[in-house]
């Protein structure tokens, strides 16, 4: 496969340009072809090769350099070091409404955006109906864009990009703004776009979207490529990193306020499964967990249990006050909850269970703890839960 995109050793260094003196010095350095003296390095030695037909997700924390990487890719900025090679008709949607003039009508802005994407006026005439149908904002196209909601702006932007018939689509977290049905429409469009053998590079914070649309992923961490490879291992490593970070922050928070003044999770364990390993439960077995909560004022708190899939999709949640349960009092301030999920109907896969401490009114979530577990099984059923069923008819 020919490489569609090849980045080699990309570094990007932003010079400091706040004061006039700094600007002049940075400008002089630029003219002389020297490296600027001081500044911020946003990207460091990133190499990436994308072949035609691949779909790449770029993930990472805020400020990790993902957007800068996309800007380098699209040629909006020049990298300080390294080489960029792109052999495709590119359409980039780096920001919703980039290139839109708020004073002008939607139609005028479609024309502008289309010409920015390299469409001729004849091509645009032929595709105008498609664009309007895709954007689906009705009579609003004749209104100035400044009266649009952000969702409408992104509809218009995506519609033009879709009509420009690109080989490589580059998007930066723009789908998040659209409403549910528009997001679905975009995802369907991207899926058919990929099915035609086109290439996608997208930045997203939604691991769900990345896993759904991409086959490969790049995790950018503090300007460096931390992991690069198939989408699942990379996104899981990224999620695990966040888990650890959150756990660390929570510990610090606990240490800070000494655990007082709040309803806290003191202990959260699986019953019947000892050790530090994540327990493996066979499909159909019972799952039993114990949650010990502390209450600063001695009133019994409410416990909430939630089960979710490894990617965060919620499966089931129930609180003790839904079922009118009063916990077992251990002492003045400690309460014990035990829950048993009988003959667990989850299908094989990775899951996690969370135990939450809520205030006695069941209104406010005060603390949480999480455990992973694996369900094993041989079933060929699809989805993640077994629904009891029977087949009727026939012999």
């Amino acid at each position: 496969m020919r490489p569609l995109v090849r980045l080699q050793g990309i570094s990007k260094f932003y010079p400091r340009v706040h004061r006039p003196g700094e600007r002049l010095r940075a400008f002089a350095a630029l003219m002389a072809g020297r490296e600027p003296q001081d500044g911020v390095e946003v990207l460091h030695d990133i190499s990436l090769e994308v072949s035609a037909g691949q779909s790449f997700g770029i993930i990472g924390e805020n400020g990790a350099g993902k957007s800068t990487l996309l800007k380098v890719l699209t040629g909006v900025i020049t990298p300080s070091k390294g080489s960029v090679e792109v052999n495709a008709r590119v359409a980039a949607l780096l920001e919703l409404g980039a290139g839109f003039q708020p004073e002008f009508s939607g139609i005028d802005n479609i024309k502008m955006k289309a010409s920015l994407l390299g469409m001729s006026s004849k091509q645009l005439d032929r595709r105008m109906d498609d664009i309007l149908a895709f954007a689906d904002i009705g009579e609003y196209v004749y209104e100035p864009v400044k009266h649009y909601s952000s969702g409408m702006v992104v509809r218009l932007g995506f519609a033009v990009v879709a009509a420009s018939d690109p080989e490589l689509l580059i998007t930066d977290e723009v789908l998040a703004v659209g409403d549910e049905s528009f997001q679905k429409k975009c995802i369907r469009w991207i899926e058919s776009f990929l099915a035609k053998g086109n290439t996608l590079l997208m930045v997203s914070h939604s691991m769900y979207l990345v896993q759904k649309l991409c086959t490969k992923a790049l995790w950018v961490h503090q300007g460096r490529a931390r992991e690069l490879g198939d989408v699942f291992p990379v996104t899981q490593a990224y999620l695990a990193y966040h888990e650890e970070k959150n756990a660390l922050e929570k510990q610090q928070r606990h240490a800070h306020d000494g655990g007082s003044g709040l309803y806290c999770v003191r202990k959260f364990t699986f019953l019947g499964h000892s050790g530090n390993e994540d327990p493996v439960i066979r499909h159909g077995e019972d799952l039993e967990a114990e949650l010990i909560l502390s209450s600063p004022d001695g009133r019994p708190p409410v416990a909430l249990f939630g089960v979710m899939r490894a990617d965060g999709t919620p499966v089931y949640g129930v609180a003790s006050d839904f079922d009118g349960i009063t916990p077992e009092r251990i002492d003045d301030r400690l309460f014990r909850f035990r829950i048993r999920f009988k003959s667990l109907q989850l299908l094989a896969g990775s899951y996690s269970i969370r135990g939450h401490a809520m205030d006695p009114e069941g209104m406010r979530l005060c603390d949480s703890s999480e455990h992973r577990f694996t369900v094993s099984g041989q079933s060929r059923e699809m989805g993640f839960i077994h629904l009891p069923h029977q087949w009727n008819g026939g012999d």
């Binding site: 340009v17 006039p20 900025i77 980039a92």
Partner: protein, 258 residues
Amino acid sequence: MKLLSNNLFHQLVSRAIRTDYLENLTGFAWLILQPLMLLAVYAFVFTTIFKARIPDAAGVSYVPYLAVAFWPWTAFSESILRSANAISANAALIGKVAFPGELLPLSTVTATFVMHMAGYLAVLLVLQLMGTDIHWLGLLGAIPVLLFMFIFASGLALLTSALQVFVRDVAQILPPLMTFWFFTTPILYSSSLLPDKWASVIKLNPMTWYVERLRDFLLLGNYHWSISDLLVPSFSILVFWASLVFFRRCSGHFEDFL
């Protein structure tokens, strides 16, 4: 020229014309009124107060003499002043969409020239109706002169708009600089009125050639050739080319400074 068939360029020019001139009635009226008022003030000051005379121009009165040079100058200076901010005003676009950035100043210059040339043609017609003898055949010479002036202005617009990104003072320095240039160009006066020493200095100003050639062609019917007819257009093209090279060298770094 690929530029003329570029759809983006068309869009940018028509957008510039619409926002700057046609969006509101005053914008359009202003286009004609502002140079007309300045022309009236200068005409009053120089013919009535200073009693300026134009010794070398037999039979040509001061107002057409001034007007023929004044309109192209307005187009020239306004296009440069307007496009100085072309990049910084479109920072949002520059940082998000990959496109040839030089189209921004070039479209501003084009829009300004298109509008002012329409005004210029109207002024020439009015002058003819008022009894001035306009040499319409001279347009054949005047149009290439204006074209080279457009190229010169485009070059300077590329240079200033790129510089403005790095050195914010450019937008402040430019207006007084253009005023200085206006007075050192024989627009309000004739270079033949100057002492020989200064007359040769002022010949170094490329704008001198432009306004004098326009007067030669349109008012005086003077079609003689000189070495300047080769030098100034070549110089203008050189300025344009050098500015374009400079602009392209800078354009990948605009985002760092915006």
